[in-house]
Symmetry: C2
Subunit: 213 residues, 2 copies
């Protein structure tokens, strides 16, 4: 909850050992200190204008609208007024009575063969999806600036010198080797900020190979 | 892992108590039985063509490309060949040496004030994002068919009969009440599949009110 900026934790009939342990956990103190206990579900959700239950199973017999997390989260983000997101107990989930108090139900899209999830993971996934920024999937937030053509030329020249000095390139095949190495370097996608390190490495190799330009 | 269809779990220096417990856990047996132990990280990732590390902190000093989960997951889905997604220990995360073996790093977008996450939740979030279907956010998978105008008319007529029989509507204001109730019913967004139940409830009320049409 704290990771994704959710602060209002309301508990109905919490397992007291776990609750007390969590209250004393490092880092989560703000959310846990503000956590409030309620005698029953209706009083816990009384001020909410949208109540969404979470479930692993289909519950088609309940005739309750069931939405995938991705779509449900979108509806929740658009909702006016406070929204309650309900999670049942680790073992049994929400009861049918709990679910009858929900406007609709939401499920995490899992493999059909393995639907039940750990409670803490379910909460994390739902809150992650609610806080998720769809635009973030579209572009790299940290584009890596590639080396310029001049820098690649310099790298290529140094690598060619190394190839000659070390005997990798012989005079007979020098012309084709030059083109080959030029293409080789272009396929590396060298980041600009790494070029200085490469120059340093190549310069040192050339010095050791006895090459003094 | 099993929830989202990931099967190849590779462990380096696992905490053996937890590993043995997890192996015997109900439901996760297929993934856990197939889990393999490796003596070190290089041997665990040897066959992978893309190695992605996970981190909570920025590690700007490492000059390693750091990508948000939403964008990183997109790159992973496009990758050719096996991809390794690395998670460090619960307490310390990946070491700098581990990270130096990664092509790039990925972080879960959290509040800056609370970045560190539980290991199990981090794994669940990353695999959820990898398995996530962006199209699922756009449309309701289960559109609820609304009641037809004819059904709403019948509901309105019955509700009007109830209003009259119960004395809510008096003859003097009957005309405006009729329009008011007609609009009231339209604002409810009654699902078609619920109309039969409403007809039954209204019919029963009317019968009890002594109304026999």
């Amino acid at each position: 909850m704290s990771n994704f900026g959710f602060t209002a934790l309301r508990l109905v009939n919490p397992y007291n050992v776990a609750f007390r342990e969590a209250r004393s956990a490092v880092g989560a103190s703000a959310v846990m200190k503000a956590a409030t206990e309620y005698p029953d579900l209706p009083s816990a959700i009384a001020d909410c204008t949208l109540v969404v239950g979470t479930t692993a199973a289909g519950h088609r017999e309940l005739r309750h609208p069931l939405r995938r997390l991705e779509y449900g989260a979108r509806l929740i983000r658009r909702a006016e007024g406070p929204v309650a997101l309900l999670f049942g107990s680790e073992k049994f989930g929400l009861t049918n009575e709990d679910m009858s108090r929900c406007h609709w139900l939401m499920h995490i899209p899992t493999r059909d063969e393995h639907r039940t999830m750990n409670l803490g993971q379910s909460v994390a996934l739902c809150l992650y999806e609610l806080a998720r920024d769809p635009r973030a999937a579209r572009r790299a937030p940290q584009p890596v600036r590639p080396a310029t053509a001049a820098e690649l030329d310099r790298l290529t020249d140094m690598l060619l010198d190394i190839a000659r000095e070390s005997g990798y390139v012989n005079p007979r095949t020098a012309a084709s080797a030059e083109e080959k190495i030029r293409r080789l370097v272009r396929r590396l996608n060298v980041p600009e900020r790494d070029t200085a390190v490469w120059f340093g490495i190549f310069r040192q190799i050339l010095w050791k190979l006895g090459h003094h330009k």
